[in-house]
């Protein structure tokens, strides 16, 4: 047998109650600054991006060519300081067509969707590569398995950042 629960009155709050100062809130905005040490592996990765090259490390045990490069293989748990250059081409492993900005606001009329993609880099082990952005492609033309190539910033504009590659674009 069901009996409806009686909810007693009460008054709902509105945004106006807050803005008019009827409801007290404590405002603060947090101010924090960090400078993260990149360490050996990420530092070299970024330095090589500045040079317009992609560098990986090879695990001496499982032989995986790992991207991003790391000083140890997290699966074999052995040091991996064998550095190898890989290509700036690869294939799309997966992608998404994003109609929202980072803060969840919708993209404007005529604005192109953001196109994040995981790219398996040629020369790195299967399933390893770079998470980056796609461009110079119509969203409805993108396919998993599509071959792409890095479009680099001009040398003078590179800073040692993942953004030294502007985006990846389809080739062929």
């Amino acid at each position: 047998m069901k009996e409806k629960v009686q909810v007693s009155g009460g008054t709902g709050l509105s945004a106006k109650d807050v803005s008019s100062g009827k409801i007290f809130v404590t405002d603060d905005s947090l101010d924090c600054a960090y400078a993260w040490d990149t360490g050996v592996a990420v530092n070299r990765y970024l330095a090589e991006l500045k040079n317009g090259r992609i560098i990986a490390t090879e695990c001496r045990k499982c032989k995986r060519i790992m991207l991003p490069p790391r000083l140890f293989c997290e699966l074999c748990y052995v040091p991996s300081n064998n550095w190898v250059y890989v290509q700036d081409t690869g294939v799309i492993n997966t992608f998404s067509i994003c109609h929202v900005h980072w803060d969840a606001s919708r993209i404007g009329e005529g604005e192109k969707p953001h196109l994040p993609a995981v790219i398996e880099i040629d020369g790195a082990s299967e399933g390893m590569g770079i998470m980056h952005l796609l461009n110079e492609v119509e969203p409805d033309q993108i396919k998993i398995g599509m071959k792409v190539k890095a479009v680099w910033k001009p040398e003078a504009e590179r800073t040692g950042s993942i953004n030294d590659i502007k985006y990846f674009k389809p080739i062929e």
């Binding site: 040490d37 360490g39 050996v40 748990y77």
Partner: protein
Amino acid sequence: MSKKVAIVGIGYSGFRTTSTDVSYREMIYEAATKCYEDAGGIHPQSIDSFVASSEDFMEGISIADEYVPDQLGAVLKPVQSIAGDSLQGLASALMQIKTGQFDVVAASAFSKISNLSSYENVLSYATDPAYIRPFQENPYFIAGLEMNRYLYETGTSREQCAKVVIKNRYNALKNPTAIYGAKIDMDDILNAPPLCKPLGEFDKSGHLDGAIVLLLASEDKARELTDHPIWITGLGWATDTPNLDSRTDTLGSARYAELAAQKAYSMAGINTPYNEIDFAEIDDTFSYKELQHIEALKLCGPGEAGELLDLGSFAPAGDLPVNVSGGSLGVGYLHEANGLHRVLETVLQLRGEAGPRQLPGVETGLAFAWRGVPTTTGTAIILSNKS
């Protein structure tokens, strides 16, 4: 205690004021590799579970626990993060083994405090937004309030607090991992610039980067992995109310420490701590804290710590050596890794591996960590080399 658990491996990396040459991943990898080698060369695939302690604000990464697995060898393994001092993380690792579901569990923590350029802000964001933050005071004022009340209630002198600094920084001269070791005298401390009086510049510990990884195992596994297991015989922790203006006791006491120790002592079957504990590593984030904590941990009567310090009881050659390592004042402060640092030093002593600072014939040690201002959280652990 039901199932016996031992610390079977220790590893650390650091300790130094900056560590720009390595990432936190590389620093923890070094500490973990040393720890696993210390535990008979165990491969992390044979470790059942991993517990990391961290505070996202310190690291500048929210949900930082997701960045734990790689460097510990914990990919696709049970991983848990504790937002608290690493001795609370160790408590969690201990409990996992006591459930009987896990035999070998790693506990890790690190500090990259040098990467945080607004430490005071982070500390300030830990204070209550309605009651405390609007005053815009440096949170060390809380240590000033506590110290003043502690001195008032116990009759302990400003000079006795300074003697803690002298002792610990001198002890640190014999610890190769300590970077704040120094031979300083009373005038240096009393004439130092005041911070939040009565607290002065020398009364607080300095920041440190570093990583610590410890490996815990059930009795059978412990005997397989090492010839020198250090048994965890008791552990307890407690948190007081955060209210500065209505603590359950007073700002001069440390009830959290008393209750944490009570639990740890009762688990370990310790009735007279002063007689049964051979040495202690006790939080000395601030000078007065060491004395306040010694009293709360019932290693002496209320208000007696200062006098016993004068008599040399807490010196390396005294009846109850406290912070032979140099403590946080001498070694430096490792933030959330602080608790594991206390345990690390206690384990080294109990193994007889403490080098020039080794105490003779020690069997039972106490480690106690506090989570720093503005917290009221403390964890106590009893360790023994006798099974």
